[in-house]
Amino acid sequence: MTEITLVEAVNMAMARALADDENVVVFGEDVGANGGVFRATEGLQKKFGDERVMDTPLAETAITGMAIGMAAQGLRPVLEIQFMGFIYSAVDQIINHAARLRNRTRGRITVPMVLRAPFGGGIHAPEHHSESTEAMFAHMPGLRVVIPSSPARAYGLLLAAIRDPDPVIFLEPKRIYRMVKQEVPDDGEALPLDVCFQLRDGSDVTLVSWGAMMHETLQAADQLAEQGISCDVIDVATIKPLDMETILKSVAKTGRCVIVHEAARTCGVGAEIAANLAEHGLMNLFAPVQRVTGYDTIMPYFRLENHYMPSTERILAAVKKTLETS
């Protein structure tokens, strides 16, 4: 078995879904002949034809709305929004329609669609190409928001998202699209949605993160291990609905929690996790919960982006703070 990158795993999951289910269609801007600007859809049009893998005109609202209509007719649309920064004109469709149709019609019309979008900074991209605004969708009832952080989870979670009977916003951390390779069997096995993945077992502090920041979070855990501090490391993976049970269980064991995300701090998903810890896990805490996040600024253009995104050093400092308090 060859090792593959995260973006190759995304491609492999779509190829598998297209092969397994004739209702699956993949479309978006430049996804066909060009194979997607990140090559996530490379070769799919050639293999499955241009009726099931389509290049669309440049119209985010219409292609998102179109996915809703397709899903209502029983197709399983998987659409790509080229960058998360271009998703905003589709938000009306996502929130007012995709997320609500099942509820509005009491289950008569459902929307099993997946909207994929690369997100996050760190690749020296042009303006509007580096934001992390996942919390916006995490706030909206009726949606699932899923973020993989490894090739294996990209494959298993995307398959799960495509098979899910409800709309899923699937955000792909593009900074780690090609950062690591991993053996991923193309076995068609989906991973569970709505649950966190425990990546390390430890007893001193719980580190919670998702997406590209898992990389720095794991680096911090490794360095802390060398100093004799053991970390529980949790990849949230599905940020909506949020599996607080796993996080609370971990914090009950460690008594300390550091939440790491690239998105701006205010009303970020970290705030939701911290609030839940305060509501349901306060008595287990030895120290205040720490958040290591992007600042409440506009995502800076790329000369400064590394100053915005949480670094391993910032995570280590936050962990240190939780250890000092007790």
């Binding site: 269609v25 009726e51 099931r52 669309t56 005109p57 119209a59 609202t61 219409a62 292609i63 998102t64 709305g65 179109m66 996915a67 809703i68 209509g69 397709m70 899903a71 209502a72 007719q73 029983g74 197709l75 649309p77 004109s89 009306d92 469709q93 007012n96 329609h97 099942r102 509820n103 509005r104 019609t105 009491r106 289950g107 008569r108 019309i109 459902t110 009832p141 009726g142 699932r144 009977p165 409800d166 709505d194 609905p241 949020l242 599996d243 607080m244 049970e245």
Partner: protein, 364 residues
């Protein structure tokens, strides 16, 4: 540049059609479908039933028995035409004044009362599995129709998506993006842009500098035409033609039926703040029901006795549907969790319990 050579590379014409004039006289040969006199009577009955429903709905709102309601007064012909032009296997995506079309397609009156009475079950449509519910956000249903049409084409089905929007909605990007995609992919979809002169308080002439609404189709490379939207025979004919063309693989079209919103935008609106009552009076003379009745009477298909009988039937039907509506108790509060997802995620079960506990406390 002043002396540059210019060549005409594109030009367009927009056609307007009418069969029945406001006096109920034929101004064009009867279309083929109208040979079926039962069909003509069915169209008329649909319009009368819709108007009776509308009168009742406004009364229910005014007496506090229903919420805000959008009236279809004056626009009955377009809805009847759409409902009769479509086949059962087609999919309708209405706005909120196409009640006649919805009745024709199996939506029950009490479901519409429930909808405007604040109950999601009013969009459940026990006898209409595929049509989309009423669309409130304006024009956003256009891309849905494009996706539905794509699914139909992909599966090589002889079906058509019919989406309705108003004149104001054609100013929105969703409309332009939708017609453009439908044209680029030659999809089986018909866009019906009902021009009723008013988008709440904004008159048609302030909505766009375009001389007609339907000519917006030209930019998408698809045909567009106007039809007298108060002429149920003409409207039924042109809408059928567009639907059947799409069904045969001939691609999408835009139809602009011209009608008039006789009532306020909704029961929460007061059109006297922005609309000249003389204009409303003028449009009363163009009424779709009056002219069809005159025509049917002129060819001895209808008389006073038929009219009385129809009115009695409509009243009885509406009273029984109102009773179903008023006798329907609200959904239990926890039902707000029932259709959020196929299965309620574990993460939200505690909130459902919280609501149930609160209800228990309230009932103690």
């Amino acid at each position: 540049m002043a002396n540059s050579k210019q060549t005409s590379v594109a030009s367009f014409e927009v056609f307007y059609s009418q069969v029945l004039n406001p006096q109920g006289e034929l101004v064009a040969p009867l279309p083929y479908f109208a040979c079926d006199t039962d069909e003509l009577i069915a169209l008329y009955k649909n319009m009368v039933l819709t108007r009776s429903f509308d009168t009742k709905a406004i009364a229910l709102q005014r007496t506090g028995k229903m919420g805000t309601y959008a009236s279809s007064l004056g626009q009955e012909a377009v809805a009847a035409a759409i409902g009769h032009a479509m086949k059962p296997e087609d999919v309708l995506l209405p706005v909120y004044r196409e009640y006649g079309a919805m009745f024709q397609r199996g939506v029950a009156m009490h479901e519409l009362f429930l909808y405007w009475g604040g109950d999601e079950r009013g969009m459940c449509y026990a006898n209409q599995p595929q049509d989309f519910p009423i669309a409130v956000p304006i024009a956003s249903q256009v891309p849905h129709a494009v996706g539905i049409a794509y699914a139909m084409k992909l599966r090589k089905e002889a079906r058509v998506a019919v989406v309705v929007i108003g004149d104001g909605a054609t100013s929105k990007g969703d409309f332009y993006e939708g017609i453009n995609l439908a044209g680029a992919w030659n999809l089986p979809v018909v866009f019906i842009t009902i021009n009723n002169y008013w988008a709440i308080s904004l008159p048609r002439e302030k909505q766009t500098a375009a001389e007609t609404i339907c000519q917006k189709s030209i930019a998408a490379g698809i045909p567009g035409e106007q039809v007298d939207g108060n002429d149920v025979i003409g409207a039924r004919n042109r809408i059928s033609k567009a639907i059947e063309k799409a069904r045969q693989g001939g691609g999408p079209s835009v139809i602009e039926p011209i009608t008039y919103r006789m009532f306020d935008h909704t029961t929460a609106d007061d059109a006297s703040r922005y609309r000249d009552p003389e204009e409303v009076e003028k449009h009363k003379q163009l009424d779709p029901i009056m002219r069809m009745r005159k025509y049917l009477e002129s060819i001895n298909l209808w008389n006073e006795q038929d009219e009385q009988q129809l009115n009695d039937e409509c009243s009885a039907k509406i009273e029984s549907e109102v009773k179903i509506y008023l006798d329907t108790p609200p959904q239990p509060p926890e039902s707000m969790f029932d259709h959020l997802y196929a299965e309620l995620p574990k993460a939200y079960k505690a909130q459902r319990d919280e609501l149930l506990n609160q209800e228990d406390t309230n009932n103690d």
